[in-house]
């Protein structure tokens, strides 16, 4: 066994086309999951702010449960557990999207709550005193300002969720890590392939960071 350092650049580069096949899955799971997660987060974040306990309580329970359990356990539960209840299999891709949705949804609920709560009381009072209804005040005054403040935290959550999709190799979704494992099984170049996998994740997350920075800069106008 040769223990000296022998990084094989050729093997690294040759792995790239194979790995790229995983990127559409990684992106699909991430963005579909996050889109649904955002809708969930908006709904539960606002319910969490409700003064009525019967609205607030279910939101608290949802947030605590999905924030307090690992996303890996959640996806295993959905993929292997839920079919026993539903009586039929769930496609791995759908299970991955669902796991990202419910998991990011819990975190986004808290982001939404924090963003909305951060808007000074005077904004609401100004809206109401002009004769706007409560929902108009929310829609035109509170939400646009709150959303701007949520952007950095939402970006953070996006990056976390993208990385979380790597766990879904265990249920056989053909995403980035899974493609890497498959390729390593035939080439035994773990060092090179996992390095390339890491670089591809970094490429995705850095792109997102960059987009967010642009958005934040744009969002700052008029603040």
């Amino acid at each position: 066994m040769n223990s000296s350092f022998d990084f094989d650049w050729e093997a690294a580069f040759q792995s790239i086309p194979h790995l790229l096949a995983g990127i559409p899955y990684t992106l699909l799971i991430s963005f579909a999951g996050l889109a649904i997660g955002f809708v969930i987060g908006m709904i539960f974040g606002l319910l969490r702010l409700s003064r009525a306990p019967w609205l607030r309580w279910p939101a608290v329970a949802y947030i605590e449960i999905f924030r307090g359990t690992p996303v890996l356990v959640q996806v295993l539960f959905i993929f292997y557990g839920l079919p026993q209840i539903l009586g039929g299999p769930i496609p791995a891709l759908a299970a991955g999207i669902a796991a990202i949705a419910v998991n990011s949804g819990a975190y986004i609920s808290e982001i939404v709550r924090g963003g909305v709560q951060s808007i000074e009381r005077g904004q609401r009072e100004a809206g109401l005193s002009l004769g706007l209804s409560r929902s108009q005040t929310f829609r035109y005054i509170i939400w646009p300002q709150g959303f701007r403040r949520m952007i950095p935290a939402l970006g953070n959550q996006g990056i976390i969720s993208i990385k979380d999709t790597s766990l879904f190799a265990v249920i056989g979704v053909g995403e980035l890590v899974r493609q890497g494992q498959i390729y390593i099984a035939t080439t035994f170049r773990a060092l090179e392939v996992y390095l390339m996998v890491a670089i591809l994740y970094l490429a995705i997350t850095l792109t997102l960071s960059l987009l967010l920075r642009l958005l934040e800069r744009k969002g700052l106008v008029g603040q």
């Binding site: 000074e120 005077g122 109401l128 005193s129 035109y140 005054i141 701007r148 008029g222």
Partner: protein
């Protein structure tokens, strides 16, 4: 801006034995207040006397627990029960806040057009025309495309005034409109208010600006620990206060 003539002299605000508590604190005690159309009422008193709370009850930003309150002929219920009447009252009653409370994400013009468009259903063009006319009036026509954060405090407060006036209110409430301003900007805001008073707007003003109060008020109300201690024409209250509490308050605020 409106040369509205009121058909009758019926009070626009009628408050009877109003009581408000913040928890165990009794903030307003049996307050009676009537404001007739065209009248300028100035409320003075120390910090924490309840004067801001009092005018915030008029447009339902604060709820009260006991008593009667009618604004613009519509009844406000105790305990802040949201009602149709409350929103109607708010469309007819404008308010200017100590902290301006402009909408920082909207341009100056959009701050002024938002409510007329969404509440009154004005078209974008109509609302814009009204906004530009009002901004011109308060002396900030050339800043309409800027954002509130780019304006000075005095300019922001004048935008806030234009924003409230755009709804063509029948009554304007001012909650310490100059208290958050740098001294050199107080004058421009008071000037705009003075002009509004001259045009016959009904106004209820909470302020610490005593000389302004003396000048514009038809009636001055001194409130202490949630009770109206003294009220009357400014000359009477300022020059010949009847109550010891009023005298000691005035001696403290008029010395500086």
């Amino acid at each position: 801006m409106s040369e509205r003539t009121d058909k009758d002299g019926a009070p626009i605000v009628r408050m009877e034995k109003l009581n408000k508590h913040f928890g165990t604190l009794h903030v307003l005690k049996d307050v009676d207040l009537e404001v007739t159309p065209g009248e300028v009422v100035v409320i003075i008193g120390a910090s924490g006397s309840g004067k801001s709370t009092l005018i915030r009850c008029i447009n339902g930003l604060e709820e009260f627990q006991k008593g009667k309150l009618e604004v613009d002929g519509k009844r406000l219920e105790p305990h802040g029960k949201a009602s149709k009447a409350l929103q109607q009252i708010r469309t007819e009653v404008g308010m200017v806040f100590q902290q301006f409370n402009l909408f920082p994400h909207l341009s100056v013009r959009d701050n002024v057009t938002l409510a007329p468009r969404k509440v009154r259903g004005a078209s974008r063009a109509e609302a814009r025309e009204t906004a530009d006319r009002l901004l011109e009036r308060v002396g900030i026509a050339n800043q309409a495309d800027k954002y509130p954060g780019q304006l000075s405090g005095g300019q922001q407060q004048r935008v806030a005034l234009a924003r409230a006036l755009a709804m063509e209110p029948r009554l304007m409430l001012f909650d310490e409109p100059t208290s958050a301003l740098d001294p050199e900007m107080i004058g421009e805001v008071l000037d705009a208010m003075r002009e509004l008073a001259r045009e016959g707007m009904t106004m209820v003003i909470v302020t610490h600006e005593m000389s302004f109060a003396r000048e514009v008020a038809d009636r001055v109300i001194y409130i202490h620990e949630g009770e109206i201690v003294e009220e009357g024409p400014p000359e009477a209250v300022f020059d010949n206060p009847q109550r010891e509490r009023t005298r000691s308050f005035l001696s403290r605020v008029l010395t500086h």
